[in-house]
């Protein structure tokens, strides 16, 4: 089973939920945690995994053999991303614009285009407290997160409960992360920002046809509008975590809530039961 932890708004507690849910289940079943927030991965700061493998994520980008190139212009016209341009008698490649679609190489009549594998990030694998830990990291200066996220997800182990820590937002990185999940937990906070972004995230998961429920973090720091919205929309409220300076301090230093606060351990157990019931239904 794959459970994605997502949110429209950043900083609502996705990583907290993902990490603590994984920890609270690890003695009952085989658990894998995938950090798909490849722009800003954070789950490792809490679980301190021991990494055993590291593999690069590459994007195939064109390399032009200027000797063979006849400057016919087919590739520059075909590139939908304007990653190829004829400058004087040369065709230049702007790698940062390239999506790696391979179209230019297929179409070049002179056979002047080959592909090189440009490194855009890496995937690390290891274990943390008995949890299989898989993390994607996008190189700084790279624009495209989805290829890195797809690579992380290609490593999803069979027969384990997989928890995905998603990037924030509602556009391609978030969609790449949650796509194919059996259930999505949307984490929010009870403020107008939280509500506005929750509504967008709900539209996305509905569009993707993924069953979902909501966790309200810092539940007593705001207003009742999020809960009202959930009731109106018949969206399950899976869990509420109150604001507590002790929790905030624990998070700040990279601590683990379920280990330090027994009352939260039982909340996470209840959260899991709520998810399990809904996936089986």
């Amino acid at each position: 089973m794959i459970v994605a932890i997502a949110s429209g708004k950043g900083g609502t507690g996705k990583t907290t939920i993902a990490v603590n849910l994984a920890l609270s289940l690890k003695d009952k079943m085989q658990v894998a945690l995938l950090d798909c927030d490849v722009e800003e991965p954070n789950a490792h700061l809490f679980l301190l995994p021991e990494f055993k493998e590291k593999e690069p994520v590459t994007l195939p980008v064109p390399a032009i053999d200027q000797e063979k190139c006849t400057q016919c212009g087919i590739c520059t016209r075909a590139c939908a991303y304007h990653a190829l341009a004829r400058v004087g008698k040369r065709v230049l490649v702007f790698e940062e614009l390239c999506h790696g679609c391979g179209g230019c190489g297929l179409l070049c009549p002179a056979g002047a285009i080959t592909e090189i594998h440009k490194e855009i990030g890496f995937v690390k694998r290891g274990t943390a407290r008995g949890i299989e830990f898989i993390q994607g990291t996008m190189n700084i200066g790279t624009a495209l997160a989805p290829p890195v996220i797809r690579k992380v997800k290609s490593r999803i182990p069979k027969d384990k409960l997989t928890i995905i820590d998603s990037p924030p937002g509602t556009s391609c990185p978030m969609i790449s992360a949650v796509y194919g999940a059996d259930y999505c937990v949307l984490v929010t906070e009870p403020t107008p920002f939280g509500l506005s972004d929750l509504k967008l995230a709900v539209e996305v998961v509905r569009e993707l046809g993924i069953p979902f429920g909501v966790v309200i973090n810092r539940a007593d720091m705001g207003d009742g509008e999020v809960e009202k919205y959930l009731q109106e929309q018949s969206i399950p409220l899976l869990m509420k975590i109150p604001f507590d300076r002790r929790y905030a301090a624990c998070y700040a230093r990279g601590g683990l809530l379920v280990e330090e606060f027994p009352e939260l351990k039982s909340s996470f157990d209840t959260l899991w039961k709520a998810i399990e019931r809904r996936v089986e239904a």
């Binding site: 900083g11 924030p168 920002f193 905030a248």
Partner: protein
């Protein structure tokens, strides 16, 4: 005209709260929300939309069933896994046109897609440009560029002194678009392990641009040790921390009321935000 873009790396550190405070205190600014896939600045600045524009951000392939002979070449060449059983999944189609170019029956059309909308609005603080990316749409970087271009045109035409931009989280394409051409990156962080980690990454990105960089630590008193660590890190990088904002429930109340905190409260956080605004304007004038 000088442009300040507010960034953070990590989401939820307080970018929009800081942006709205700058907006409320700037006398002569155009405001822009470049967090186009989870825009929130409108909740505090209450824009009145004057003009709405369509954003035709991308093309998607569409297979014409009448012409398709099911040879499967399109599926073979598509590297995004967007074609299955002679149908295009628009969520995965990146508009690369390879299938369109390769189809021997010319059975594939590239269809322009309405990927969102953008708006020019009035607020009591000045004109505002903002956007909404369509559900499950891509090309947020391109939409950010559209928003920024419009904001610049308005600023130049109206001889505005500043553009104040609320940026997206992360370090990917919309962040890169937000940074391009800016004079100052004001980076809002929080005193947590994740806040520092993400600050390091966004600083490395920003260093590739010709921008002045300043840092603000939000809710600094929730973890004093971490705040010190962040300050030390910034000093080691030669980057100035221009403000430390205390945790203050007045901020949550201001946001719930839909008001920039500096207008709602005169508490310690609001005072710190005012100071950040003053130092940001001073800093960007000489940037």
């Amino acid at each position: 005209m000088k442009e300040i873009v507010v960034l953070s790396g990590k989401g939820g550190t307080g970018k929009t709260t800081v942006t709205a405070s700058l907006a409320a205190l700037a006398k002569n600014a155009v405001l822009a929300d470049c967090d186009v896939d989870a825009a929130d600045l409108y909740l505090l600045l209450k824009p009145e939309i004057k003009e709405t524009f369509e954003f035709w951000g991308s093309q998607k392939a569409k297979i014409n069933e009448n012409k398709c002979e099911e040879c499967g070449k399109c599926e073979d060449v598509c590297r995004f896994g967007a074609i299955e059983n002679f149908k295009v999944n628009p969520i995965f189609c990146e508009g690369c046109r390879v299938c369109y170019n390769i189809c021997p029956r010319k059975a594939i059309d590239m269809v322009d897609t309405l990927s969102g909308h953008w708006y020019i609005s009035d607020t009591k603080y000045g004109p505002m440009v903002h956007a909404r990316l369509g559900i499950a749409e891509e090309n947020s970087g391109k939409l950010v560029s559209v928003v920024k271009k419009a904001a610049r045109e308005i600023a130049e035409r109206g001889r505005y002194e500043y553009i104040i931009t609320d940026g997206p989280p992360g370090i990917g394409c919309p962040v890169i678009s937000s940074l391009s051409g800016a004079d100052m990156a004001l980076i809002v962080t929080e005193p947590t392990a994740a806040g520092l980690h993400d600050l390091e990454r966004v600083l490395k990105l920003a260093e590739n641009f010709k921008v002045a960089i300043k840092v603000v630590i939000n809710k600094f008193d929730l973890a004093q040790e971490k705040s010190k660590e962040i300050e030390q890190y910034c000093i080691s990088k030669g980057i100035e921390v221009i403000g430390k904002i205390p945790f203050d429930e007045e901020i949550v109340r201001a946001v719930s009321k839909g008001v920039p905190p500096v207008e709602y409260s005169s508490g310690p956080a609001a005072e710190a935000l005012k100071n950040v605004a003053v130092l940001s304007f001073e800093g960007v004038r000489i940037a």
